[in-house]
Symmetry: C2
Subunit: 163 residues, 2 copies
Amino acid sequence: MTSPVIKIDPKLDLVLVREIDVPVELVWKAWTTPEHLREWFVPKPWTITACELDVRPGGVFSTVMRSPEGKEFPNAGCYLEVTPNERLIFTDALLPGYRPAAKPFFTAVLELARNGAGTKYTAIAIHGDEEARKNHEDMGFFEGWGTVVDQMVAHIKAQGARA
Amino acid sequence: MTSPVIKIDPKLDLVLVREIDVPVELVWKAWTTPEHLREWFVPKPWTITACELDVRPGGVFSTVMRSPEGKEFPNAGCYLEVTPNERLIFTDALLPGYRPAAKPFFTAVLELARNGAGTKYTAIAIHGDEEARKNHEDMGFFEGWGTVVDQMVAHIKAQGARA
């Protein structure tokens, strides 16, 4: 169920919904453990070269993304809500400890629901204005977030095969 | 106790500590009930002409402040943490539902601790840069937040006398 405080505005927000055949607990683990997240969280051949996750409200969510040319892009944000196996909300409008950030762009809401043996996976990007939504869409929100879901599912299955 | 996720930086943040002789429960009620908050939350002769509080993470914290000349100043923010009688955190970096705001300024942390029959009252303003801290201090953070604590205590005592 969508959080009752989240009000999606189609003019401002982007929503990706997918049904995937891995259980919610493993999706949660893939999202909340640095050594898992760094394996799938950017579309390849980009990589994640550093990742720090303090999975509690006010805690750090930071990654450093590296382009194929070797340029690094640090991203820092802050968790807002953490409900294991159900909902994770974080934002780049705040740094860790809820400190206002210089360049707010969006708040992300990840919602997981059991769907048979798999998961209904919903990712929502909440923006402050229409321009930010449009920029995010033009940057490839749907392709990018869709690609990393595929990468996450493949990573989870490979882990299972190895276990 | 200060929240473990809050890291005060003296270059960026402002802290007001007061010992007041009203109990934490009544301070909490004064902060979280619109009909109480509007009576004390701006230094008089300013007034609050509207107030909406949805006291849960992601919920609205909004007031409209009116100057003695009759000009109105709306403020909208969002609660981040709500621990009754202990801690209230809200920010103007996010609108309700965690939507990034256009003009982030600060995050406020209110901490209450029992102190005999009274309360140790700590208000912290967390800023993104030194300029924002300085502006807040120049706007009269200490006088303003100090004055409204006095107004709040007087309001609570008047309520008690009426009860």
